[in-house]
Amino acid sequence: MLAASLALNGLVMGSVLLLFSLGLTLIYGVGRIVNFAHGAFFSLGAMAGIWLANSGMPFWAALLLAPLGVGLLGVLLDWAVFARIRDRPMVDSLLLTFGLALLITGVLYELGGRNVQILAIPPALQGVVAIGAIKLPLYRVFLSLLAIVLTGALLLFLKNSDWGLRVRAANDDPEMGACLGIDRENLMHSVVGVSAALAAVSGVVGAPIFTAYAAVGDKILILAFMTVILGGLGSLRGAIVAAYVVGLITVFGEGYFGGQLALMLLFVLVMAMLINWPRGFFGEGRTE
């Protein structure tokens, strides 16, 4: 009974993680940047949702506008900041995004991020779905479906569109891609934009559950890092499987042992797995 309910909630958590870590995988794949500021984009999305809701906008408008705004900010950041260190060693990109994460968090603190706020669930999504004896809030069902639909759309887009072709080419071999005339600058602008927007979507839809404050993205960032490492850095299908594994482990751990201990359990599991499978579930993660 408890286990079944936890399993469902684990799937919900996994869906949010999936949506969030796809952006991490995309940026890594195309730009070889591990984006420590991805959690800050999540917080920014959640906070933007609150601001928009407080200014009288309906939930749906916030869900559309917040990711749009954060996505544009992502494009701007890539153009203004990431572009400066494109050909520098990997260390610099790590340090840069780390500094950026602190900067964004600092700004959010000044803009009301010190208090924990909760985004109200729209009336249409209030209520409970009962599957047999197990009850799940309708909002969580919506959340999972939205994440799955968005992920599916992104994967289809990556597979079938011209942009997707370029992204996959740059992912496989950036130099060869550049030789074939792919404009890496523009591609990176769009990839960072899309990835930031994805983080913001998960921030807004997560705000009624995970609440919203300046550092709300920190914990999910750690979970997402565990996800991409389990799935293999840069592997999309690895990330999909790993997101649900991490989601289930986290929720079961929280249910039986409490949140902080669940995090430790996850870390130990990831470490144990890395001993034998450093390249993730499908063995396609990069180790350079």
């Binding site: 591990v34 420590f36 900067l103 920190d218 409490g258 890395l274």
Partner: protein
Amino acid sequence: MSDSVTASATQSRDMTVRTRALVLLIVAMLGASVPLWTGSMPFVLILASQAVIAAIVALSLDLLMGSTGLLSFGHAAWYGFGAYLTGLAAKYLTPEMLVVLPLTLVATIVLSAIIGFVLVRQIGKTFAILTLALGQIMFALVFVMSGVTGGEDGLQGIPVPTAFGLPIVRPDVWYWLLYGVLLAAVAVAFHIRRSPLGKAWLAIRENTERARFIGLDTGSLKLLSYVVSATLAALAGGLFSLFNGAASPDLLNWFESGKVLMYVVLGGVGTIIGPVIGAAVFTITEHYVSSITNSWLIYFGGFFVIIVIVAPGGLFGAASSIWSWITASRRGAAS
């Protein structure tokens, strides 16, 4: 002719080594004299002591980052681990510093060797991500064991430590003690840098694959560097909690790790003395800036971003490149 060129080159190298040693000596003396002129301002001495502790942590991270090129985003994990373990041992076991500190060091060596065993096998980015996660785990551990560690409130009531049974209370004695540890650590770091071990570490930083090809056991060497670095950080943490009389979970925050990283980047990765100076400058600046504004994080993050873009070698690196540019042009003008 080539003989005379090499001769003059060695001579000028001797000169720079001698000037550098002289500058270091003067800086070291200046540092040691702090308690002599802060008698009327006890707070400045406490701030200076904190700067010295920060310098030890910075040095510990530089031993890892600057030697083997492994980037740790969770160095506060070891700093905080040392602080809590020492604090707990002093509170429940004995306040004798010469017992609790070695105990902490041994525990850190064991634990960091186990964790490092898995960590150092990961390359570059995975290592960086996992160290960040480790920092969060240590942070979580404080709350999991809040019955012992005091959780949110921090670890309170660490007794005044003793050395050989004598309590250490006077702030100037504390300062000299901390400063002595720092000087010893810097001396050891310089010695390691010149030893075959240091050369092997540098080889790993420059090109791990080639280092392996010439027969270096890169895995063990990386692990050694990780353990040394973690242990020194834990020592700094232990000294901090004894000095401060309390430890708080803030010590393990990832912002704290970011600060340590900032010391090293600001001072120049791998320069040993740069991160030490960077830490001192940064700690003192932080104190005065955060007393003016409370949006310190914005300035900190923004400054971090700018430093990485504009001066990846750190301020020390920028200064030394300006210095070598000046000396080079002067030499060019002389000939």
